[in-house]
């Protein structure tokens, strides 16, 4: 598995996953201290998905994300200090403090936005894919959405439209077992979300979302298909979140030791580290170096975000329109 990727790629993937993990663990701590406002949904535990998917993309490809967007942003190349400052609502944030955790976007790196509306993203990537198709440069567009969002009408419509218009789209259903406090085994009316692909005329596959390589491989196939003009695909990643739905969630809907077991047995980073240190020349020390760099990056991002000032009052009224 690891063999199909270069050492450099593998270290990149490790760095990305680790950056997401540290980012989220740190936001969790800072939120508990009271420094971070608003609703925050953490992606920790799901890193293999964003990372395995986005490693198949270039800056010219687009993704649309959801409320649990930090991991997607980092994997797609959004700058980390800007993200942290945004989550703190500060002026140097990616969106100058006007968007916050649920609305981080950076179109310059192909990130069309986290989204506060469940199912908001799939229609948008159809548009990005249409642009790509008409511009003829082989670009693709991907939507990340949850098991909950897989029941939203907008998602179904987008799958149909993508096939009918033969768009270079990949639909990534991240099934982490819950939509808020509701189990996906109950709310999704079929066993695997990927079962739905057939009804929309596209290939569908379910992969273990804790397994970077499985995600990467499935996405590679789907992205190649899309770039070749053969239309959309659906990939379901089954995975788990380490934290609650949002910060502050009591998680009583989970079994008592559920999270503990997941952290111990299904940590995608542990698993990835074990594989690459076993199968390649990469050593634990190589990873420790990266760990240190990631730690420093996050420390500095938090320090900057905390020290930064809130956006100036004049910005309340700007950027509603380009011209009005």
């Amino acid at each position: 598995m690891a063999a199909s990727l270069s050492v450099e790629d593998l270290l990149d993937a490790y760095r990305t996953m680790k950056t997401i993990r540290e980012f989220e663990e740190r936001v969790h701590v800072e939120f508990a201290k009271g420094g971070i406002p608003g609703f925050v949904h953490l992606y920790a535990g799901e890193e293999a998905s964003a990372t395995g998917v986005c490693m198949n993309l270039t800056e010219d490809d687009y993704i649309a994300s959801n409320h649990r967007g930090h991991g997607h942003c980092i994997a797609k190349g959004v700058e980390v200090s800007g993200m942290m400052a945004e989550i703190y609502g500060k002026g140097s944030g990616t969106c100058h403090g006007k968007g916050g955790s649920m609305h981080i976007a950076d179109l310059d790196v192909g990130m069309m936005g986290a989204n506060g509306i469940v199912g908001g993203g799939p229609p948008l990537v159809c548009g990005a894919a249409l642009s790509a198709k008409l511009q003829g440069k082989g670009g693709v567009a991907l939507a990340f959405f949850g098991d909950g969002a897989s029941n939203q009408g907008t998602t179904f419509e987008s799958m149909n439209l993508a096939t009918v218009w033969k768009l270079p789209v990949v639909f990534i259903a991240e099934n982490n077992g819950y939509a808020e406090a509701t189990a996906s085994s109950w709310s999704v009316s079929c066993k695997d979300i990927s079962t739905r692909a057939e009804g929309f005329g596209m290939p569908g596959v379910t992969v273990d979302g804790h397994d970077f390589f499985a995600v990467h491989e499935a996405t590679k196939t789907a992205v190649e298909r899309a770039r070749a003009g053969e239309g959309p695909s659906l990939i379901e990643c089954k995975l788990d979140r380490f934290f609650g739905h949002f910060e502050g969630d009591n998680q009583k809907y989970r079994a008592p030791n559920e999270v503990k077991t997941i952290r111990e047995e299904k940590d995608c980073i542990k698993r990835f580290s074990a594989t690459i240190t076993a199968d390649t020349d990469i050593t634990p020390d190589d990873l420790a170096v990266i760990d240190g760099e990631v730690q420093a990056l996050i420390d500095s991002a938090v320090a900057k975000a905390v020290a930064d000032t809130e956006p100036g009052p004049e910005t309340l009224l700007t950027d509603v329109y380009i011209k009005y």
């Binding site: 406002p37 608003g38 916050g100 509306i117 109950w186 009224l317």
Partner: protein
């Protein structure tokens, strides 16, 4: 009326008392129970902010979680209402109306008229609105003005725990579709609420404070802000009359007009965006039917014509404040003097 409880508990109590009274009342929404199908506890959430907590234990299958499919959810509530039940459906945030609006304004609101009086659709849609939670542009909107625009809907905006209970009981008993708008920043406010059941009729404004100098019409959370402003102004000898319409549709026009007849001056406070809003609605009502009473321009205090910003500093500027209300009142009070 000695007992004080929270706004959110008043809502819970209204649901509880009505469900106990009438078996045809059912409650449905995303995580209104919480934990369905999962490995932990049922009633783990009782709504995203805990408003429906405890009802599952009492009413079991009469309170139902839903997949994230608001069109089907709201449509199912509407269809159930048209076929004999009295559903109370939670649309978690009013901001999500965009994925299910059709079932509300084209279906529920129009059935009775389109069908020549043959349908009865007693559905209540409870929904959370308003800014102040640093929840950004897609979780902080007001949007009640959009529902108010639609014939066939009733729109309710309780500003206190007392009103929340009495208006929700009325909403549930009402035979028409009702949009029941709960301000998220009011959930934790406390007030006197009788234990027994009571219904507050729609279309009857509450005169929250009497005064002879300036009429303030304020909605939802803005009623409290107006009261703060009025306290400050009273110290300077400006007596405000504060009117809380309680329902925007139907609207108690008479109470507003009578007040302006007495004061000659009007300030309307609406947390929503300004265009085609309740601020303009009430201002225009008075400019048409109470023109002769007016001694000064009508002032409107609203959010600006912008989405809701995330940053706390900006959001605080966005929301109409007691200070802005105060200065609008001073402006109209000073006019002509």
């Amino acid at each position: 009326m000695a007992r004080k409880i929270l706004y959110q508990d008043a809502i819970n109590e209204a649901l509880d008392q009505e469900m106990a009274r009438d078996d045809s009342i059912i409650v449905m929404g995303e995580d209104v129970v919480g934990g369905t199908g999962a490995n932990g506890e049922m009633d783990a959430w009782g709504g995203v902010l805990g408003v429906t907590k405890g009802l599952y234990g009492k009413y079991g299958d009469r309170i139902m979680d839903s997949p994230i499919s608001e069109s089907a959810l709201v449509g199912a509530a509407v269809g159930a209402a048209a076929t004999g039940m009295r559903p109370v459906c939670e649309l978690m945030f009013i901001d999500f109306m965009g994925v299910c609006f059709d079932q509300i304004y084209n279906q529920a609101a129009k059935f009775r008229y389109m069908f020549g009086g043959k349908a009865k659709t007693p559905v209540v849609i409870r929904t959370m609105y308003g800014a102040g939670f640093r929840a950004a542009a897609q979780h902080s909107q007001c949007l009640y003005n959009i529902f108010t625009h639609v014939p066939g809907l009733k729109v309710v905006m309780p500003s206190s725990p007392y009103d929340a209970k009495g208006l929700l009981i009325q909403a549930i008993r009402d035979d028409d579709p009702v949009i029941f708008c709960e301000h998220k920043a009011l959930y934790a406010t406390e007030g006197d609420v009788p234990e027994e059941s009571y219904a507050i009729p729609f279309g009857e404004a509450n005169i929250v404070r009497e005064g002879d100098d300036v009429t303030i019409v304020a909605l939802g959370r803005m009623v409290r802000f107006a009261a703060k402003a009025a306290d400050t102004l009273a110290a300077d000898g400006i007596d405000c009359e504060i009117i809380d319409p309680r329902t925007t549709s139907p609207l108690d026009e008479d109470t507003i007009l009578e007040s302006v007849e007495n004061t000659g001056r009007l300030v309307v406070v609406d947390e929503a965006n300004p265009r085609c809003s309740m601020a303009t609605d009430i201002a225009s009502l008075v400019a048409q039917k109470g023109f002769g009473y007016l001694q000064a321009p009508i002032e409107m205090v609203t959010a600006p014509h912008t989405p809701v910003p995330f940053s706390g500093a900006l959001e605080d500027l966005y929301i109409p404040s007691p200070e802005k209300i105060e200065s609008a009142v001073r402006k109209t009070a000073d006019y002509g003097n």
